[in-house]
Amino acid sequence: MTPAAAPDAPLLEAVGLSRLFGPVEVLSDVSVAFRRGEVHAIIGENGAGKSTLMRILSGHLAPSRGAIRLDGAPLALRGPVDAERRGIVLVHQEIMLAPDLSIAENMFLGRELRRGAAVDDRTMNARAEEAMRVFGVDVSVTVPVQRLSIARRQLAQIARALGAPHRIAIFDEPTASLTPVETGALLKLIRELKATGIAVVYISHRLEEVKAIADVVTILRDGKHVATSPAAELQPVDMARLMVGRDLLALYPPRAPAPTGEPAFVVSGFNAPGFAESASFSVRPGEILGFSGLIGAGRTELFEALFGLRKGGGEIRLNEAAQRWPDARSAMNAGAVYLTEDRKGKGLLLEETVATNLTLAALERFQRGPLIDRAKEGRALDEAIRRFDIRIGDKGILAGQMSGGNQQKLLIAKMLLLDPKLVVIDEPTRGVDIGAKQQIYRFIVALAAEGRSVIVISSEMTELIGVCHRIIVMRNGQIVGEVAGDAMTEHAIVVLATGVDVSAGEAHK
């Protein structure tokens, strides 16, 4: 350990932190220093120890060895409340808001403003509105949080965390569910925080974003400290190499040329009341079609309505036959599956085993009389683990204990047991580390190569451009345009998604 001889002494310091879970060391001897007015990014694959480190720094977890220093003095945090009192706030990756309370009520939960004996709703609402406006989001702060999209909940959560007085702000994957515009607003906010002398710790998978915002980057791998260096000296490709510990092949696999042939799946004039209006599009066998748009554009809702998961109606044809899908089962029977963006809430049973999750949607194929054929189930699991490279040490592990990448692979495997002709994947790489991302892109391309029609919904424009043949853009519930081939550029998509030509100097409101 080199002594802190720098002129600007660290505000918060991790000194040789280690943490054991049972016999497994998930963090070993990590030392990092965070300084005032500096954005310090922590990057690494899932399981690299980022979250563990953050949970120790924010008092959620006690270290097995090592120490934390605040202003050079050793600090034993008694819990997250203690950490907050000392000015360390953590913006969680998971949404942690009371779903029945409004944005304003959540934002001031536990620190309500009072007027006499009653709570002062008027002031709290006004302040909450102000906080949300910083993100350029126009949203009613009195609506229960559960009626908001995930992105808005995320923003509300950030606003809540920053509502407390703080000197150190830790962001854990804050942009995982945000669109470029909202991400831009958040990065601007972080720059402002930095300018006021706050130490910002920033965890992200998105290396471009890290490059854009961070002053210093620390890379963790397998619980160990790999490198800390000024962001200016690292390119995203270097970061990826250090994270994975080997050179990454191209992130996106080579694509087959766009198929020509008759469309397999044709939607015309489909409505999802309140979310999407008269949507019409089609996709061919072997084609990968992207759906882009800002959060709240109605992409997810359109497909949920198509698959009978929420209210909606319109004309659907699959291989010439008219379809009516009142629930997911009827769509599955017709050969169409939808993989939800909300893996943990709607995709997998977190408290059940991998095998139970794998066969849940196709259970009738694993029945022998009234019994479940466990041997067949076991074989299907082995096959899925092999084909999709699901990395689990122990087959008895619960789905909730798996990494994001493995969960996504499991969800893909689960739905592919139905051998669908049409696969819709919503946010395939959200919360997934870069190694698994690369594999998932290969799976998507392979699905199309097998002659299936694939639709990818994503907020990451680069991945749509990387894997799709064609991209449809939605705005405010409407399909507003389509780009294909070389015309698929981030700029073209942003223009369609926002309705504003950013390069023309007209900023988004």
Binding site: L309, K346, L349, E351, T356, L360, A361, L363, Q367, I372
Partner: protein, 308 residues
């Protein structure tokens, strides 16, 4: 394990506890709760709750006895068999009512079954005109009493019933696709829906199965007292839920322990029995002890979960 401990305690308190007669008696008496609790386990694992089981048992008992008294079939054996069939049909219909009202009406099962509890019990009180309904024919009564007091190779019928219902319940919950769907629905409704499982159908069927379990309990219960009144099955719903929870099933759904439920029902009955046989604690405090058991069971579970 807790059950074994209790049995040791029972012997210490009163040597008569392990007498064949006493054990048979305890098992037979726990039949009703154990049988109903098997159904309740399925309902709770599926994310529901059924408060109406006690009242349902009373109503179905009343209907069965009225049928027995109607003398529609002359031969007592056939009459009793028909009454049993009627019991199953009536129980299934009551369950279907609960299931459809809560799933199609999208009403909390707590509320629905609170409502049907009132309906069922009041219907019985009306049928009995405020009094009790009793089997009139002594021939029928004598023939039917075999079902509760009789035995097969020395094993009393009620014990066979518990065993049969429990094996069937465990089979449904652990070995069939339907059982796995029940767990999925109780564990996370959205995941089930997105996996193409009909949540409403799966839940409704749990209530029908619960109704059938109540009907089976009634079939064994009627010959015991040969009558039904407005106090029949009073409080059974809470005792059954207690058995389920003490057995380790999670009240929120998703996780079920069928054999735990049976053990839970036996524990409750054994405790009552020990208290009757001993003079340590007043038998009027049985309710308090059972209440304490629930809380202790929960604390123990929490401790185990944390220790892991």
């Amino acid at each position: 394990m807790a059950l074994a401990l209790l049995c040791v305690l029972g012997v210490l308190v009163n040597p008569r506890f392990l007498g064949l007669e006493n054990i048979t008696n305890v098992l037979a008496r726990s039949t009703f709760i154990a049988t109903i609790a098997v159904g309740q386990t399925l309902v709770i694992v599926g994310g529901g709750l059924d408060l109406s089981v006690g009242a349902m048992a009373a109503l179905v008992s009343g209907l069965v006895i009225l049928f027995l008294n109607s003398g529609l079939i002359a031969d007592p054996t056939l009459l009793i068999l028909a009454a049993m069939a009627l019991s199953l049909v009536a129980g299934a219909l009551c369950g279907l009512f609960n299931g459809l009202t809560s799933t199609l009406g999208k009403i909390e099962p707590f509320i629905v079954t609170l409502g049907s509890m009132g309906i069922f019990r009041s219907l019985l009180t009306w049928l009995a005109q405020g009094g009790s309904i009793t089997i009139k024919s002594s021939d029928v009564r004598a023939a039917y009493s075999q079902v509760y007091f009789g035995d097969l190779f020395g094993v009393p019928y009620p014990v066979l019933v518990i065993l049969g219902v429990a094996i069937l319940g465990a089979f449904i919950l652990y070995s069939t696709a339907y059982g796995r769907h029940v767990r999925a629905v109780g564990s996370n409704e959205d995941v089930a829906r997105y996996s193409g499982i009909s949540v409403a159908r799966v839940r409704t069927i749990t209530y029908v199965l619960q109704g059938l379990c109540v009907a089976i309990a009634v079939i064994v219960y009627v010959p015991r007292l040969s009558s039904a009144s407005s106090t029949t099955g009073l409080g059974w719903e809470l005792t059954a839920i207690t058995a389920v929870v003490v057995g380790g099933t999670r009240l929120k759904g998703g996780v079920g322990r069928m054999w735990g439920t049976i053990a839970g029902a036996l524990i409750l009955e054994v405790i009552g029995n020990i208290m009757l046989l001993s003079n340590l604690v007043s038998e009027y405090l049985i309710g308090a002890v059972q209440g304490a058991i629930i809380i202790i069971a929960m604390l123990a579970q929490r401790g185990l979960a944390r220790g892991r």
